[in-house]
């Protein structure tokens, strides 16, 4: 195992994949994102951590417009996003997302879950879509379960299906919102292994997670959030081992 095998080390020139500029969001009077600004380079693995309620989910869901925000601009590969069709198209072509509770489609088989987008949106033939989905399922080690329904799988297997389903649409950026939090401890590793493999392929990843081992191993940078603000950003050695701020230190003591 290598320590901190970040993709950035091998990349000479990097383009900005996501640029977050002064994002502000309120739920009524409750200010949940306060002037959040962050640049994420292409191929970078960014881990977001912080205490519950600090706005991690809200931030990551703002990136692909699952949440609205009142102020600020998010740009993807240099294109500022708004609420129009064009922006939606950019989001769907570049970003995939994996949720805490999988959100697989229970009435479709594992294979159908993965081919749905390919056949209906990409207009791929059924045979080509099946082939592509089987390749992805094989990559995450569950090709033999392709004909099962999600309800017949373990949590770890379901999350791996969810990752394959997202990857089938060939995104450039993958967003993960606590992908292992709903899993029993013995299943966490199988999902993390898939994510580590994915990181090695040069995928741009934004992961909200409390798995510090994962952060140390693959993250290029770690973002620490509290009360809707980014408190600290930096390489994992700096933020996790040698935090500059009391809040970060306190939080890390709690979860380690």
């Amino acid at each position: 195992m290598t320590t901190s095998s970040g993709n950035l080390a091998q990349k000479a020139v990097t383009e900005t994949a996501i640029k977050i500029d002064n994002l502000n969001k309120w739920y009524g009077d409750h200010h949940v994102l306060k002037d959040v600004s962050l640049d994420i380079s292409e191929g970078e693995i960014m881990v977001v951590c912080g205490p519950s309620g600090s706005g991690k989910s809200t931030l990551i869901r703002s990136l692909n417009h699952l949440e609205e925000y009142q102020e600020g601009v998010v740009s993807v590969f240099g294109q500022p996003l708004s609420r129009d069709r064009q922006s939606h198209k950019i989001i769907h072509q570049t970003m995939g997302m994996v949720f805490q509770n999988f959100n697989l489609f229970p009435h479709l088989t594992v294979l159908q879950n993965c081919t749905l987008g390919l056949t209906w949106l990409r207009k791929m033939s059924e045979r080509d879509a099946d082939k592509m989905a089987m390749r992805l399922l094989d990559r995450v080690g569950i090709a033999h379960l392709a004909t099962r329904y999600p309800g017949q799988l373990s949590g770890g297997q379901q999350q791996r299906v969810a990752i394959s389903r997202s990857l089938a649409m060939e995104p450039k950026i993958m967003l993960f919102d606590e992908p292992t939090s709903a899993l029993d401890p013995e299943m966490v590793k199988e999902v993390l292994d898939v994510m580590i493999d994915l990181a090695k392929t040069g995928m741009t990843m934004v992961c909200v997670t409390h798995e510090m081992q994962f952060a140390r191993q693959v993250a290029d940078r770690v973002v620490f959030m509290a009360d809707g603000e980014i408190i600290e950003v930096g390489p994992p050695e700096q933020v996790l081992v040698n935090p500059q701020w009391d809040r970060t230190r306190e939080f890390l003591q709690h979860i380690l």
């Binding site: 692909n64 699952l66 939606h88 769907h92 072509q93 970003m95 995939g96 997302m97 949720f99 509770n101 959100n103 697989l104 489609f105 229970p106 009435h107 749905l116 987008g117 209906w120 949106l121 059924e126 329904y149 309800g151 389903r165 997202s166 649409m169």
Partner: protein
Amino acid sequence: MNNGALNIGVLLGLVWLLPLMSKLIPLRNFVLLSWIGLYPFVGGYLFLGGRFGEELGLVHGAMTCLALAFLVILYANWILSALGKKGLNELFVPLVSRLVERRIHLFSFVAVWLLVALVIALGLSQVSLEPVPIERWGGLFLTFIIAGFAITMAIPVGVILALGRRSKLPVIHWLSMTVIELVRSVPLITVLFMAVTLLPIFLPADMEFNKLTQVLVAVCLFAGAYMAENIRGGLQAIPKGQYEAAATLGLGYLHTMVLIILPQALRMMIPNIMTSFISLLKDTTLVSIIGLFDIMLMARNIANDKDWVGMHTEPLVMISVLFFILCYSMSQYSLNLEKRLKVDR
């Protein structure tokens, strides 16, 4: 009554549904949709009889041809795919691909469809069936026609009304809500009377519907309004995560609804939907009150026949047994369906 045509009509309805059982047919959901959308034209023609193209009117005639052509293509494709050959609708692909760039398969299908329909139209124009006026339709057949129509139309109408009620556009929302609440808050018998007496007043004088059509519209609306509330209950039970997962894949409103949300909502509501169907079947006996000769009115008339004066009990017992068998098998079927679909989860 013209029995030959009648039997063919019923048989065709069943034959149309047969391909649903086969795994060889692609897009089987569309077969069911086509049955709902197209079969009534064929059935209507065969039940009504008459010279093709004259009594029938242009639209009905054209739709009948299209429907029959669809059935022919469906079966041709089934046989061809069983033999391992390409489907009939692929016939024009090489030709069409020269004219258009996208949706080649769709255009090829439409071309083949129109061609077959034309051939059928030429054939049918030679046919003349003995005409049967609608006033002479009666008995169990009529009960089945009304109940069958109500049951098949309930889900499409219900889905449209339910989605309309959840719509963010105020006009659509209020329109759907008004229809649902209005229809649900009056008894079926009133809806039937209104359809027969009030509807002709609102329509232009030269537009004349027969009684059966008016009743069908009324029953369809009634069934749809109740179904809409069933479906809305199912829609509310779908977790938000399903919409979010669909959105992140890039699915739009229509795709999300048709592929993800409605299949789950409908499955969840199978027991309620079946209950509605059963009460619909029983409610159709009310049409005897506005003078359609369904099975109830038939039974009452038996007692007035000079050969069987005073025979009130026997026909009614007979009808009860008949309805019991029908309703009981429907509820057994729903239990069976539920059990089968549970395996999926």
